[in-house]
């Protein structure tokens, strides 16, 4: 037997706070699914700076340990 959808169930809650929150949730998920993503996606090239910095720190660490 299929269990009842948790979101739909809470949209019918007697607690006005829960009911309002889950109704808002339902609308937001629909908005998200229609627009796919609302933020600019990251590319691998955006991570290059952090990788270089960790590389420099690793080189410094190696220098400290061998000297």
């Amino acid at each position: 037997m299929k269990q009842k959808d948790h979101i739909q169930k809470n949209m019918e809650s007697n607690d006005p706070f829960i009911k309002g929150m889950y109704t808002d949730l339902h609308n937001r998920i629909q908005d998200y699914q229609e627009s796919d993503s609302i933020v600019e996606k990251m590319k691998f090239s955006d991570a290059k700076g952090s990788i270089v910095i960790v590389g420099i720190i690793a080189a410094f660490l190696a220098y400290v340990l061998v000297s």
Binding site: I18, I38, V39, E40, D46, S50, A58, F60
Partner: protein, 476 residues
């Protein structure tokens, strides 16, 4: 209380719901400032202090910089997940741990937060006792055995009552506490550098090293790796509110991976100069009586604010996972911190506490990264994250692949290092423990989710990815 109740409900809904476009208010610099403000705390100072007990300034700098930046580099990609879907940590982790598993992970986070809260309050209690030792009040109040727990518990009561009132009261406190800790750090740094000079500091020897340098260095590194990985449950709190995934990634890397190191380095240098890891003893030793007393007051305020922030973070996260629980019940989950304030046992075991965190969070980090990037290939159903009878139910709400990873990660970590007894294997001195445990957990999760406990939700993603590749091949 009406206004406070309404602001709490607003915060609960805000934390629970996926961030809408108009909630995305933070750019990269906004997020850096917020996370550095939160991150620079007594926890960073103490981590640095224990580092300074074991290694000299040059080795300490290497252990601190690498120990923070590398774990953050390993876990920071998960901020892309939180930023893309606008979700908080514990809702996001449902896809990898399962609905019940994410709730259990919250309890691990709560224990971690209780520990942090206790450390902040105990340090504040010590600072008050140090201040009172200049007065002629009865010895009961100035003794470390009775006075420190008493004042730490009194401060807990203050923190509890401020947090109970909700975000409006907390915001007022932040205007005092955050500048207090900032002034304290800058003041200490100036006093140390100008008073001692860098050449003298670089020549100082640690007060309590292990017999072998490699053991001292790796233990110091492990402590810092623990701090680096410990940010994992906090990454979703603000990353979900940024305007771009790039901003979430970069701001988190620079704030938690690089900038909070200022406090850690300061802790290490001060310990080397003063010879003790106890921050309350630094003030008078470095700054003299009057400036030292001001330092102790700032330390008390900074730690009290940190405790309030930590408490609120714990309680609001609980309300996000269990929205139907009452605010008072959620607040009562902070009370166990009092038991850690009754004596100095927990406070003095801070280094063991941090390495236990390294153990837990390195494994959790491996699981969530493997799940989002390698198993789900960044394809998550937002609806099913919230529908707790949905795709991420796995086995009774727990993902068996996460359990398998925890078991293997535990064997790797404890095989290399026992954080409770501080016993290390020979291999620990070459590869440490937290970082290998992260990779063991990541690889185990991938193999398990793909080939052992392969649930339909993971197979669907593989099928979709294969279809997409086939489409591209056909086009060519």
């Amino acid at each position: 209380m009406g206004k406070e109740n309404s602001s709490i409900s607003k915060d609960v809904a805000f934390g629970f719901l996926p961030a809408a476009k108009n909630d995305r208010v933070f750019g990269m610099w906004d997020l850096i400032l917020i996370q550095v403000g939160i991150g620079i705390s007594c926890i960073c100072i103490l981590t640095g202090a224990y580092t300074g007990l074991m290694v000299n300034a040059r080795e300490g700098l290497g252990a601190i910089l690498f120990g923070e930046a590398f774990p953050i580099l390993l876990i920071v990609p998960i901020t892309i997940y939180f930023a893309r879907y606008g979700i908080d940590t514990f809702i996001g982790f449902r896809s990898s741990f399962g609905y019940l598993g994410a709730k259990l992970f919250y309890f691990v986070f709560a224990i971690l937060t209780l520990g942090y809260t206790a450390v902040a309050l105990y340090m504040a209690g010590e600072a008050i006792v140090e201040i009172l030792s200049f007065t002629s009040i009865p010895a009961f109040f100035t003794s470390s055995a009775t006075g420190v727990p008493l004042f730490a518990i009194l401060l807990f009561v203050i923190a509890f009552s401020v947090t109970f009132r909700g975000p409006l009261a907390i915001k007022k406190f932040n205007w005092i506490g955050v500048p207090a800790i900032a002034i304290l750090l800058v003041g200490l740094l100036i006093l140390i550098i100008s008073g001692q000079g860098m050449d003298k500091i670089l020549a100082l020897h640690p007060a309590e090293p292990y017999e072998k340098l490699s053991r001292s260095f790796m233990t110091a590194l492990e402590l810092n790796v623990g701090l680096g990985f410990s940010w994992l449950p906090y990454l979703g709190q603000y990353a979900r509110l940024v305007k771009s995934e790039k901003a979430a990634y970069k701001a988190t890397f620079f704030s938690y991976g690089i900038l909070v190191n200022i406090a850690v380095v300061l802790g290490a240098l001060t310990t080397l100069v003063v010879g003790t890891q106890n921050p309350t003893e630094w003030m008078l030793a470095i700054a003299g009586t009057w400036v030292g007393l001001i330092g102790l007051i700032l330390l008390t305020l900074g730690n009290l604010t940190a405790a309030i922030f930590l408490m609120y973070s714990q309680v609001i996260s609980l309300k996000t996972i269990f929205p139907k629980s009452s605010w008072l019940v959620a607040m009562l989950t902070t009370v166990p911190a009092v038991f850690l304030l009754l004596s100095s046992t927990f406070y003095n075991a801070f280094n063991s506490f941090m390495t236990v965190i390294a153990y837990i969070m390195s494994i959790a980090g491996g699981i969530v990264i493997a799940d989002f990037f390698f198993v789900k290939k960044q394809k998550i159903s937002l609806y099913d994250l919230y529908n707790t009878n949905g795709k991420y139910k796995y086995w009774h709400g727990i993902n068996p692949s996460a359990i398998t990873s925890i078991i293997i990660g535990t064997l790797v970590y404890w095989g290399l290092y026992n954080p409770l007894l501080d016993k290390a294997s020979g291999l620990f001195e070459y590869i440490s423990a937290g970082i290998p445990a992260y990779f063991a957990s990541l690889i185990t999760y991938y193999i398990s989710a793909k080939y052992v406990f392969a649930y339909s939700v993971d197979k669907e993603v593989s099928k979709k990815a294969a279809e997409s590749v086939q489409k591209q091949v056909d086009l060519i």
